[in-house]
């Protein structure tokens, strides 16, 4: 067993873990943070994406011991004082999900993308989310959600469900 000390969603945690324990296992099984999900066995799907020191990583492809001394943010650490993170809000507004399984990873990667590129083009969004798979093939609304979060789409007024429309350049 190896002692690890890290910060997860703003909370300092300390545990003895087996070196083989994956970060995603640690988050789910030790800390009960089941918002971060495992969607594949090959590190392809990106559903388990979290931020390690502010940058997106696939938590199935990091050992818990490698996170020793570092700062982890999961989907559960985004909302503040009961208010959704703007990207979470955007996914809800644009219905950027169908079954919802890929959503935690999609949101974490979308935030990373916007941190590096606040005004991405549609193509840049699609490339930026390359490491996240949606098996419902709901990519269209996911891309719109990222555009919405970046301020490049506005919700149409008065429509229930808030259908998003592109901003027409003045």
């Amino acid at each position: 067993m190896t002692r690890i000390n890290l910060t997860v969603d703003g909370m300092k945690v300390s545990d003895d873990v087996e070196p083989r324990m994956l970060l995603v296992q640690y988050l789910r099984e030790k800390l009960g943070k089941t918002g971060t999900v495992v969607g594949c066995d090959t590190s392809n799907c990106g559903a388990c994406t979290v931020h390690l020191d502010g940058e997106s990583v696939k938590s199935c492809n990091v050992l818990a011991v490698q996170a020793d001394g570092h700062d982890v943010t999961t989907i559960e650490g985004l909302a503040k004082d009961g208010r959704l993170h703007p990207v979470q809000e955007a996914f809800r507004e644009c219905h950027g999900l169908q079954c919802g399984f890929c959503t935690p990873g999609m949101i974490m990667q979308s935030i990373d993308l916007l941190n590096h590129n606040p005004q991405p083009s549609e193509q840049e969004i699609r490339v930026g989310l390359e490491g996240n798979l949606c098996r419902c093939t709901g990519y269209h609304n996911i891309v719109r959600a990222v555009q919405y979060a970046s301020g490049q789409l506005v919700a149409a007024a008065g429509e229930a469900g808030g259908v998003a429309e592109e901003v027409t350049p003045a």
Binding site: P19, Q25, E130
Partner: protein, 287 residues
């Protein structure tokens, strides 16, 4: 699935890491960024007794200027290499290839040295390393030695690094002002390429003064397309000249046949991709 149990050390210096490696021999495995190793461990394709994590050795990270070369620390993450101004200025081909490497999450964790030491023949960095005549600095019990890219890649997943050695940095001779283009053919997003071509060129007055081309997944190691290079050196940077020369792209190649394409298909498609890569490189160089 989770990995089989292993012991774990995270040394803070190369010397400590070498000592651990010497003590445990082939029961030990070096962990760099882990983006290839961890899937292998999870699928139980390998079960080392000891993992030596280089992640705590700060001296192995970063890019620096060293006169006629830039030096990339083996543990520098791809995302850092891809955004580094020295890389963009002196080894543009590396920046172009890194942009195509896997996906953003993998680029944050995966390391430049780790990917090269893994020596996947379909990897994105082997072609650029060969094209740019990279030098691999390898530390071992007897000290440090430097291996040129032409000798570094030995076979499928096999390099010149011995079991008691560690890759510490990669020196890339400056290719300042060279244009560069990386052409990668993938069946689905963030997969290994069916094949890839990395080309970099220097153009003077509309003539290709110098050119270097690396190929991925066209054999058991990354290759140089020397025939195309020879045919193009001193030639006008025109589409016709490039098209004719790139017909030689598969010379000396021995590509695999798999579900993504036959060897025959790869031998053809590499000529097309080579043309695109070379045209991109010479255009980038101002032709």
């Amino acid at each position: 699935m989770i990995p089989a149990p292993f012991d774990y050390v995270a040394p803070s210096s190369v010397e400590e890491a070498l000592a651990a490696l010497q003590q445990h021999g082939d029961d030990a495995k070096i962990l760099a960024g882990g983006q290839s190793l961890l899937p292998v461990l999870r699928m139980r394709l390998n079960a080392p007794e000891l993992i030596i994590d280089l992640g705590r050795i700060d001296s192995l990270r970063g890019v620096r200027d060293d006169g006629d070369a830039i030096v990339i620390g083996a543990m520098t993450p791809h995302s850092v290499v891809g955004a580094d101004p020295l890389v963009a200025e002196h080894a543009l081909l590396v920046a172009k290839a890194v942009a195509h490497l896997a996906d953003a999450q993998v680029r944050h964790r995966g390391t430049f040295g780790g990917a090269l030491a893994h020596a996947d023949p379909a990897g994105d960095l082997g072609g650029p390393a060969r094209a740019l005549d990279a030098q691999f600095v390898i530390a071992g019990p007897a000290g440090t030695r430097t291996v040129p890219a032409d000798d570094f890649f030995v076979d499928l997943f096999e390099t010149a690094i011995s079991e008691d050695e560690i890759l510490t940095e990669v020196r890339i001779p400056k290719h300042t002002g060279w244009g560069a283009h990386h052409e990668k053919m993938v069946r689905v997003a963030h997969q290994w390429p069916i094949c890839a071509v990395a080309a970099t060129a220097r153009v003077e007055g509309g003539t290709i003064a110098d050119i270097a081309i690396g190929l991925a997944n066209m054999g058991s190691t990354p290759l140089r397309a020397r025939g195309v290079e020879e045919a193009l050196r001193g030639q006008p940077a025109t589409e016709d000249a490039v098209r004719a020369a790139c017909g030689r792209a598969a010379e000396g190649a021995n590509p695999p046949s798999d579900l993504n394409g036959s060897a025959e298909y790869r031998n053809h498609v590499v000529t097309v991709m080579c043309r695109r890569a070379v045209l991109g490189a010479v255009q980038g160089a101002g032709a």
